[in-house]
Subunit: 299 residues, 2 copies
């Protein structure tokens, strides 16, 4: 409970930044952005999400005394990528979902074509934000952030994982296959969130790897908790349809090994995540809370 | 005729670069990329396109004695963006086209979901290529390329233009509206192609602006020639459906002012493009040919 208040307090400046980046004003070198497209982008982004990934960027950056405004911009870029992936995932050709967080999905509120284009524009905007001198980061770090995000979001990351997920009903992946799918589909962006903090702060390579490993651990925990909820929670609690994995015949690790096993795995992952943060002492207290929150969330 | 041979000769190293970038090998920091997704990406990219935009990148870069390998990589990135936009444009929810260059479109050869994801992955890959140290460009130029491409491809550029185009059947834009739509939908990427050459070569701001203006002029010519062909050519000649604009009731400048007016405009634009290249003398001879080719092409 307490941690949700922290999350929501940290989300406030992010919402303001996202609103600023998603208004219809003309950026330099651009012609005015069409209002209907911007409205669809705002619908997909300003929707009351928990902003977990942005929180991870900002807290990880704080470990290395990074500039807060730079971290906020990078966090906003990452949230644009996360939200674009949800917009495309919800399309009739993909998961065909009508509701997200209790609201109509973008293709329901607008139309399929606008949802495709709004997703495309959000993905593009993310790289615009990262490369822009307005982040006040040296070009070397801006380029490193673009590269790391592109790797996390592309064919060998999130989009690759979504492809494997679509195939999973038919191909019935084994345990190693499920782990690979999840590490790509949801793990890669969470890993990037934590690694990005180290890049923004100009941390040593060792710290960058440590933060990335921390991100991998909580990414895995995030997915296990999600699978557990899909099995046990109801649609009202989640604000979206549940039980869909089982209905679709999709294997999850939780379905394979049971809820008791999943809870013990989650404890192990939280311990591992906390151990990785030991070098940062008291400064890492909120990131440690985040790991516990990810593992124990009930919505 | 002669110029098509030049284009096709220049396309050969680009095809090799695209093949290399689109194989299923693992990039650093990635898990293996799913083969079906990579196959869909290759289907959408390695399809016998004329590679006009890559040619413009490479020739513009040569004006500033830029490294050829760097220009080739940037050209490949731009072609990934161009091809992603075609894949998404062809979807049933958008233009609903079954054929492109005489071949089944990606969603026909695979399925809608895979086509959406292949487009997403190609857009992401473009930024991966630009930000990668493998371009051998200083970080400052890599970041500048990412930013310029994101501006050209995003809500204030190509994707914004696609949105306006979808609305055009209903909103019936006036002449200024059509010009704006076309400058965004097809003009922005062609403008970027020429400007990118100046960025790769580390040219002065004045040269960068001059090349961008050259790109704008031939972008406009490209669209006028396209509209003229849509009115006069048959489907066999174009390798895709023609007469669609008129059938959809979409206004074009050619429909408004007639074919004679369009041909005279095209002459004017070629003259303007050539004048912009005067400072570069003999070195710009192929870019001048490109401007003529764009204005006079018959397929």
């Amino acid at each position: 409970m307490g941690f949700e208040i922290v999350l929501s307090a940290r989300a406030a400046p992010l919402e303001a930044m996202l609103r600023q980046l998603l208004d219809a004003r003309t950026l330099s070198g651009e012609i005015a952005r069409p209002e209907r497209l911007m409205a669809a982008m705002r619908h997909g982004v300003l929707n009351g999400g928990k902003r977990l990934r942005p929180f991870l960027v900002m807290e990880s950056a704080a470990l290395f005394s990074a500039d807060g405004e730079a971290a906020l911009r990078v966090a906003a870029a990452l949230e644009c990528v996360h939200c674009y992936s949800l917009i495309h995932d919800d399309l009739p050709a993909m998961d065909d979902d009508d509701l997200r967080r209790g609201q109509p999905t973008v293709h329901k509120a607008f139309d399929d074509a606008t949802a495709i284009l709004a997703g495309d524009a959000l993905l593009t905007l993310a790289f615009d934000i990262l490369a822009d001198e307005a982040t006040m980061l040296p070009a070397e770090r801006r380029a490193a952030l673009v590269l790391a995000l592109a790797r996390a979001a592309g064919a060998g990351g999130m989009v690759g994982g979504q492809t494997l997920d679509l195939e999973a009903e038919r191909s019935r992946p084994d345990e190693a296959g499920i782990i690979r799918l999840q590490a790509m589909k949801t793990g890669a962006l969470i890993r990037f969130a934590c690694e990005a903090g180290a890049i923004i702060g100009g941390a040593a390579q060792e710290d960058r790897e440590r933060l990335a490993e921390f991100g991998s651990a909580i990414g895995l925990a995030f997915q296990l908790a999600d699978d557990l909820l899909d099995l046990t929670a109801d649609a009202h609690q989640m604000g979206k349809a549940t039980g869909k994995d089982a209905a679709a015949g999709k294997a999850t690790l939780v379905a394979l090994h049971g809820a008791g096993w999943a809870r013990s795995q989650l404890n192990g992952l939280v311990g591992q995540a906390h151990a990785l943060l030991e070098p940062y002492g008291e400064q890492a207290v909120l990131l440690k809370e985040a790991a516990k929150f990810v593992a124990n969330r009930n919505s």
